[in-house]
Symmetry: C2
Subunit: 248 residues, 2 copies
DNA sequence: AACGCCGTTCCTATATTTGAAACGGCATGC
DNA sequence: GCATGCCGTTTCAAATATAGGAACGGCGTT
């Protein structure tokens, strides 16, 4: 483990997290790193175009270089490329918001989406994270994770509303059902008023690489409608899986 | 300058640039870094969630963490927030593709856009870079850069087509005109068949922070139309500048 | 069976990082 | 108008984390 690189990464994360420029001393205090060290590392980041000093000659902020490289990362992935047309198609046909999510750490991360055109719609920006156990999108990803990850998530489970799954035992049962049925749906579980359906996408090796989700206000999505959306997710995810080379 | 961090950044860039997983030895050869060092640095990146080892237990690739943090960077910027509604509005009204660009290094970087709905439209993905001297978008940014940057760009100038500006002298004159008129336009200069107009956006301190651009096929944009789009860019960029706190 | 390449681990000389201290600039408060 | 405090920046000797050659075990090819 390279401690110097670790500090540099901490610095980048701190700058990305702050919503504005930060000073050398401030960063040193926040991260418990010596001021001189912070300065030298920032200097390195600046020289390589990752950060820049504000016009006031004091505080530092990240440049768009990180964003640009991030764009390169997702562009390099075959998943979003394959999924994009189906996101658009399903959004068009159902009139609801469609999303593509992957597992990142212990949460589900939205890496692409197509917004509904309804005046009443779900607000969830690109890059947003959702709890992995309290939503259809999260659970469909969780269900196909390795045992230890599932166990950890089940143990750490806590309901976020009074609806849907309330206990670790129910969660474990639901995950088994998802594996059996190949799709999931939920209502008012993550946030009151939001419902959604999701299905897993598999890559060429059969590993679940992401989730195809359709989400909308509970007000519009009665049980029947939600069930239809779940089927829609299944179809879309199957198509995408095939595009990725999944034979099953 | 921290050499360790520099190597780590090189590693990240190499991984982001490659369109697939790369092995330790390969990276070492490409970047001329010792295999052991590459391994240790990669290990650090993996432990912090920036990279992961592929299922084959061999090669390494970046995760979406970089993308996620990049998203945070642009979200933190006030420019895209302020510009977004006007990009949408102008795209709706003109029917052409609208873009928001900033200077990154010696090029113009597209950080947001709204696509035209014409069947014939300009292909320029988010994160694409345009030469700073061979397009309306680039020149409107270049015109307000510090002297040395302008001088360097003028010296390095080379036409990309047989249309529009052809010599460094013409470029320098055009930049002066842009500063006087406050907007620019171009036709068939970057790529044959593409025309565009652009105007600079200023932040609260009066510094040019970005460019508002409208672009479309030369086939649709005759001289008159292009001139109207230039005016449209000016209006939009003025509005955005005001939103950012620019008083002038 | 031998080879070559892979990712990984080990180890020590050494080059790098570290962090306290001091500098000059700038604002604030007395 | 002086003193104080915080800022980013620079310096430098001591400490240490890094570098990189060498070797390991695994794997596929020859």
């Amino acid at each position: 483990m390279s401690v110097t690189v670790e500090k540099a990464l901490q610095l980048i994360e701190a700058l990305a997290g702050a919503n504005g420029p930060v000073g050398v001393s401030q960063l040193g205090r926040d991260l418990q790193i010596n001021k001189s060290t912070v300065y030298r590392l920032l200097d390195t980041l600046v020289r390589h175009g990752y950060a820049r000093q504000e016009e006031d000659g004091a505080r530092y902020a990240l440049t768009v270089k990180l964003w640009e490289m991030g764009i390169g990362v997702v562009r390099g992935l075959s998943l979003p490329r394959a999924a994009r047309p189906l996101l658009e198609q399903a959004a068009e046909e159902t009139g609801e918001t469609t999303m593509l999510a992957v597992v990142q750490g212990r949460e589900a991360l939205i890496i692409d989406k197509v917004d509904s055109r309804h005046p009443l719609q779900i607000f969830s920006p690109l890059g947003a994270r959702l709890p992995i156990a309290n939503s259809a999108m999260g659970r469909v990803l969780l269900a196909f994770q390795p045992e230890p990850v599932i166990d950890a998530a089940v143990e750490a489970f806590a309901p976020r509303t009074e609806f849907g799954i309330q206990t670790p035992a129910q969660l474990r049962k639901d995950l088994a059902r998802i594996r059996a049925e190949g799709a999931s749906q939920s209502c008012d579980e993550w946030q009151i008023g939001i419902a959604g359906a999701a299905a897993p996408i598999r890559d060429a090796s059969g590993v679940v690489a992401g989730a195809f989700c359709i989400t909308g206000p509970t007000a519009r999505l009665c049980e029947d409608k939600l069930s239809a959306l779940r089927t829609r997710c299944l179809e879309a995810s199957r198509t995408i899986s095939q595009l990725l080379g999944y034979a099953g």
